[in-house]
Symmetry: C2
Subunit: 330 residues, 2 copies
Amino acid sequence: MLPVKIAGLGHYLPRVCVTSAQLEEKLGLPSGWIERRTGIRERRYASGDETALTMAAAAARMATAAAGLEIGELDLIVGASSSPHQMIPCTAALVQRELGMPDGHSACFDVNATCLSFLFALQTTVHLVAAGVYRNALIISSEVTANSLNPLEPESAVLMGDAAAAAVICRTPEDGDSAIWHQKFATFSSGVDFAQVVGCGTSHHPNDPRTVPHMNTFHMDGPAIFKLAGRKLKPFLHSFLETIDWRPETIDAVIPHQASRHGIEFLTSRLGFNSGQVIINLPNRGNCIAASVPLALAEAVCQGQVERGDRLLLLATGAGLTLGAIALTF
Amino acid sequence: MLPVKIAGLGHYLPRVCVTSAQLEEKLGLPSGWIERRTGIRERRYASGDETALTMAAAAARMATAAAGLEIGELDLIVGASSSPHQMIPCTAALVQRELGMPDGHSACFDVNATCLSFLFALQTTVHLVAAGVYRNALIISSEVTANSLNPLEPESAVLMGDAAAAAVICRTPEDGDSAIWHQKFATFSSGVDFAQVVGCGTSHHPNDPRTVPHMNTFHMDGPAIFKLAGRKLKPFLHSFLETIDWRPETIDAVIPHQASRHGIEFLTSRLGFNSGQVIINLPNRGNCIAASVPLALAEAVCQGQVERGDRLLLLATGAGLTLGAIALTF
């Protein structure tokens, strides 16, 4: 058990809301196709002056205020998005400047594990804070998907939404109940090809003349992911909960990665949760990649669905294929 | 103090060696220009079937064997390079497959802070291993710079070299002396523009028609970095050493990021080290970005310059601008 808490949460939603009907018209899909297949009615897209940095900064300001801190009191910034704002330097350093934070008072690095970036960043951060290395850490996930989605692969392109979310992590005060109980991750690289952007790195560099545009967009084999994750998730979760002696029915809220309707339904149909336990924002947010879990949590707190003292399970799958879970008292 | 050790190190050097004379001819530079300005005589470039993955896997196998472990005993892989092999999934997951590791027995994520990626990954990993979350962790830094260097900016293009390096991190056995004494990082984002690749992310996406090739290459304002780092490094290091009550003369070896000749000379001219303490591989390796520090350490161990029980200081600067230091007993 680590005496560490999510002291504050924040989020930012882009102004432009795109309905599934609008997307169907744009992509030449039959009316109703998107909601029937995915359960998604609408999602936000960044536009105009909204960038991954401005969105991250807005979410960070909200999270810092919710934690009762000033921006200048943060001493660690961890960027945790599926793509950087630019390749060099790390997004966290760019956010330090965007927030107008004092020079040299915080350390900045990024963590990347696609949809699991936030959960890995949380694991990393809670141990560093528990050890006293940092006092007030900020994790930011900010996703802008324009140019990264392939309109010729609508089954993945229609899933994604843009958003930013942030969390401030501090040591739990002496009289507090907040705690991190367990974290576990497992990567099954037999599924490494199931979700990919093969470009934007050294393998298919943008300046290599052999790199073509579809390499820079997301490709997903949804059925293969669902089959592999479906087979692995039950024993993974069983062993996870057994370690801390939690039973599914004693968990106040499950905050899943909003990967797809099938993925979320799996929680109630196969993993033993009831629908009242599961936080769902997929219909009006889509899959916001790394921002998905912290956004769902931040909105659930705003709406009173999650309260201090609640026992929470954060549960996600990500490209790799990786499974991850974190159990905490909020 | 964390009872954690670098249990094994490994490295891989690409087959092709490019001399500074060859580069001068290719880039139309005066004879002797590169070595006079940078101190670099030659560097390696990945070619043929050498990729960031094959290089990482070779370094990882060497590090794992040096730690006396089998590949299947690793339970964490942290990718720590300046660029990913591809955008999704993380490089660590691709390395799990490249190494033929068992499915689901390790967790995979990447850490990115450009030249400081390895040091941040080491900080993260030693805390996770000290807390017992993972037993045998692998960190890999693998750099392939083809397509990322701008021949029209020879002052940065000639500096870089390709290489991979790996470290296996384990708990120190009961009878061992190895320990991590201190880690510290500070980001000065007033220098965020001094070292950049503005492309390959969401800001100037490769599929955005406004993105032009030079945006996907490295740009550096060397004098500005040297000025800012030069001003900040001395008080940073002073406070760092004071915390653990180490004096410069009691350190057996300083392993600096091999950023440039000026950067390394600063250690002896201004920071109080003597030239016998400083491990230098810049002349024949160049600046290998995130692989620079672990490569210099791995080669120093192979050559008997660093031995078990030695007190080491890893010291680096990176884009951000970030300063970082880790003190350990090897």
